[in-house]
Amino acid sequence: MKPNDVILQSVTKVAVVIIFTFSIYLFMNGHHNPGGGFIGGLSTAAAVVLLYLAFDIEKVRENIRIDFKKLAALGVLIAVCTGLGGVLFGEEFLTQAFGYKELPIFGKTELTSALIFDTGVALAVIGTAVNIILSISEDR
């Protein structure tokens, strides 16, 4: 018998969008305030897991065609390579840089190399967390 999860599915459709938005906010907020790649990544992963819960794993897999193992690996690669950026300029490994720039819509914006690093962290966290949940729930 197929369980009736209409309510869960309808709520998920709305909630996932909110969670994704909030996680992006958390992620961007992280440089000066509480937040950052780790928490942003975790909340994104929570949204993805919610999708898996509400709909079938197969169904979500059809629509989100991302191999989360590779996503995690890519995230770590980005993070490590950002660290190597410092080495290229003759600084210590993991040295960060930042600057201010006038952008069209945002106005004066602070651009940091830590943001790229954090993107890597976020991707790694999303990949790992989703992967862990998937491999625990997988039953053959």
Binding site: P34, F38, T128, I132, S135, I136
Partner: protein, 112 residues
């Protein structure tokens, strides 16, 4: 406050040890997880428990907490999370393969 936390740590370690010494795999996993949580509490206490501001330096704020233990337990929690997840899957696979979750039966013998 530190004393309360110390007692809590003690209780957690006691329960964790009890669970670790039991025979069911799942209990052992919970036990190891509890012990790790107790250790995380210990680390956060090691920096001193202070009331006050977030561990971010700003103008005019004094009495901020020590940020290092927080960074340490964040790392420790993540590692613990990964290890616990791995052990759960491992225990499950071992249960499927060996047909038992009783450590006494998973002992193995000399000649095989």
């Amino acid at each position: 406050m530190e004393i309360v936390i110390a007692i809590v740590i003690g209780i957690l370690v006691t329960i964790g040890t009890y669970l670790l010494l039991s025979r069911q795999l799942l209990r052992i996993v919970f036990g190891s997880s509890l012990i790790s949580h107790a250790v995380n509490l210990l680390i956060i206490t090691s920096g001193g428990l202070k009331k006050g501001n977030a561990p971010l330096l700003g103008e005019g704020k004094i009495g901020f907490t020590d940020a290092l233990p927080q960074a340490l337990i964040l790392t420790a929690i993540v590692i613990n999370f990964a290890v616990t997840a791995f052990v759960l899957v491992l225990s499950y696979r071992s249960f499927k393969a060996n047909g038992t979750d009783d450590m006494e039966k998973l002992r193995g013998n000399e000649h095989e």
